[in-house]
């Protein structure tokens, strides 16, 4: 596939191996005959299934990324980390009156965070430590604003020495905030209109039309 003959030598899942240049970690695994399924999902960098840990040539720090996005470079030492256990609290949002007030019970470990910033390894470039700080300070709007890109890969949780799972904490806040917001007026109006059978006569008309009449009807409605 790659017309350039260039190759790189990497250490893949603990084995030294020569592969064509320009492949991602997942492609490198496939290219060398590994039957990888568990760590593969969307192949677009959005599902968070293919997390990897790697040590670049002559680097001292292990870094983290996504296997479908990380291009392997010569001397790389890389493994897949397709799953890391982290605690998800059990709660039923529908039974909670003011869910945000219950955050200290639901994720008590959040308040043991000492802002060490070890969690700031997000492949989506989220400032995880900043989000946790905002959460502790009950600035929930700020906390959620920054996690819309979170793909729930859980890498941040794998680094936390206090056992906090930032992705689950943030998701709870996201859901709780939504629950506490008033319903959108335009939606409520439309639902009320439909409840009072606002369109019943129109649908009755649609049901009786022949195919060609229906096509003309649709054009009329759409252009009105």
């Amino acid at each position: 596939m790659h017309n350039n003959e260039e190759t790189v030598t990497i250490e893949l899942e603990g084995r030294k191996i020569k592969i064509p240049a320009g492949l991602t970690v997942i492609e490198a695994l496939w290219d060398t005959g590994h039957d990888v399924k568990r760590g593969v999902g969307c192949l677009s960098g959005l599902c968070g299934a293919c997390t990897v840990a790697y040590l670049a040539k002559e680097s001292r720090m292990v870094k983290f990324g996504l296997g479908c996005q990380q291009i392997v470079e010569d001397g790389l030492n890389v493994i897949m980390l397709p799953y890391f256990p982290s605690r998800v609290a059990r709660y039923l949002l529908e039974l909670m009156e003011n869910p945000l007030e219950q955050l200290p019970e639901i994720y008590a470990e959040l308040y043991s965070c000492n802002d060490c910033k070890a969690c700031n390894i997000c492949p989506e470039w989220i400032n995880v430590a900043g989000v946790m700080k905002a959460a502790r300070e009950a600035d929930y709007e700020t906390a959620t604003e920054h996690v819309m890109d979170c793909i729930m890969c859980g890498l941040c949780a794998s680094r936390c020495p206090r056992g906090i799972a930032p992705q689950h904490v943030a998701l709870f806040i996201q859901r709780a905030l939504t629950k506490e917001r008033p319903s959108p007026p335009n939606l409520l109006r439309r639902l009320a209109e439909m409840d009072s059978l606002g369109y019943a006569a129109d649908w009755a008309e649609v049901a009786l039309l022949g195919d060609e009449e229906l096509a003309a009807y649709c054009r009329r409605v759409s252009e009105a």
């Binding site: 593969v40 969307c42 998701l171 859901r175 939606l187 129109d202």
Partner: protein, 531 residues
Amino acid sequence: MYTDHLFDAIEVVAATREKRKQQELARLPEEAVEQLLKKFHPDFRDSAFRNLRVGMNRGERTTHEIADLLEAFSDLDYSKIDLRPEYDTDVLVLGGGGAGVTAALFAESMGARVLLATKLRLGNSNTIMALGGMQASVSEGDSPLRHFADTMIAGNNAGRRELVKAMVEDGPKIVKWLLETGVDFDRDEAGNLAAKKAGGISAPRLISIGDHTGLNIMKVLKDEIGKRASIDMSEFTPAVELTTDESGACNGAILFDLGRKRHFAVRAKAVILATGGSGRLHMQGFPTSNNFGATGDALVLAYRAGAKLEGVDSFQYHPTGVMFPEHMVGVLVTEAIRSLGGHLVNVKGERFINELETRDVCAAAIIRECERGNGVTTPSGKVGVWLDAPLIEEAQGKGFLRKRFPSLFRHLMRVRIDISKQPLLVFPTLHYQNGGILIDETGETTVRNLFVAGEAAGGIHGRNRAMGNALLDIFVFGRRAGLAASQLMPTEPGEVTLNHVYRHYDRLKSLRISSVAKSPTLFPEFIVNKL
């Protein structure tokens, strides 16, 4: 990073930018559109299709890739499979995307015991990749009827009116349910849902969550399903066959445990197939935006069980899939880049189509340019055209693209391509299976007790799906299928058999059809070289 050869080509784009800005390209008249589609849209390439020789849709046309699978044998030795169920449940849901999870949640809410089995990890699906938004008629000046009309027109009036009506009428209710479950959508100052206009939509109707609508919905639903006591989950266990009783009604499935490499039978009173589309079959050699698991398994399983399909000769090709760098081939570049004024530019630095034409027209025009030799060739020999994103950055101000399209920006920045300065190389990518297994308003197929929801279902979108309707349809029909399936709780599933498979095989043999394909596919072949 772009190669020297591509950098040279980019210079042409930069050099012609000023001139192109002045240029107005008119929309094509109706006949010209028709001609363009007939000549260059992949759905009209007759050599890519053939008529099915067996099954409920015998004599109807579909792509070779799908026909191969529908006329194939499985590579399993059925005599070795133990049909005694290892697991018994009320509702078996196959597939862990938006449709499957919704179906499971609603079936459970009616008191049913549910097993949800997925091929990959729960949530790994095309749902998370839905960027743009979801259609729901919530804004002033819009109505369910208008939504109905737009959907019918987009589908070339080939969608089934009762299904389209069901979808548009449920739209606002689905939004309400999502809000209650903890999914918020973008709002305006008054707290109203902010609805946007889009191509082929006659009123503002697209509601979204930034640029990550599907991802943020799926995150919440995944979280919610984990909290329901009566839903069991089985990841990495794709279905390889449905089972039927003496009367031909569906009563379970054979799953394959990928980790332990063994098959096991699950018996259920109703089965909901929600395993998504078929982009990973790479129809006609096209790249795809679909996830790793989208191999059309639902079509195969349901067809063998005797279900009728509809419209499986119609696919949506999204005009702008990435063509370079290699590892991102097929990945979607959102429509918004074109709506914001990004030009499509050929190798000579010329525009060749009004970028606001519909998806199928833009896709056909790009294919035309590339076939005429006006495309740009990548180091591996692929061909595409430029999408001039820097033009938007110039018009909207520095930092705009990074802020508005953070994940696209990030993914390309990782390989040192700066989309605020360099254009994107794009080509149509296989995006959506317009047809599928025919359902009724409850989600039931022509096989009793077999329900389908999501992209696997057919009859809703006709010959072309409007933007934002897929994200709605998975929740609408997931909910309907879940509710209808839970009604079967009091029934007794009969004896578990594979009689329908034997019948299908007998027909293949009597027609002397032999195929090298084995189906279902489950996973794409070794796909380092995707094309």
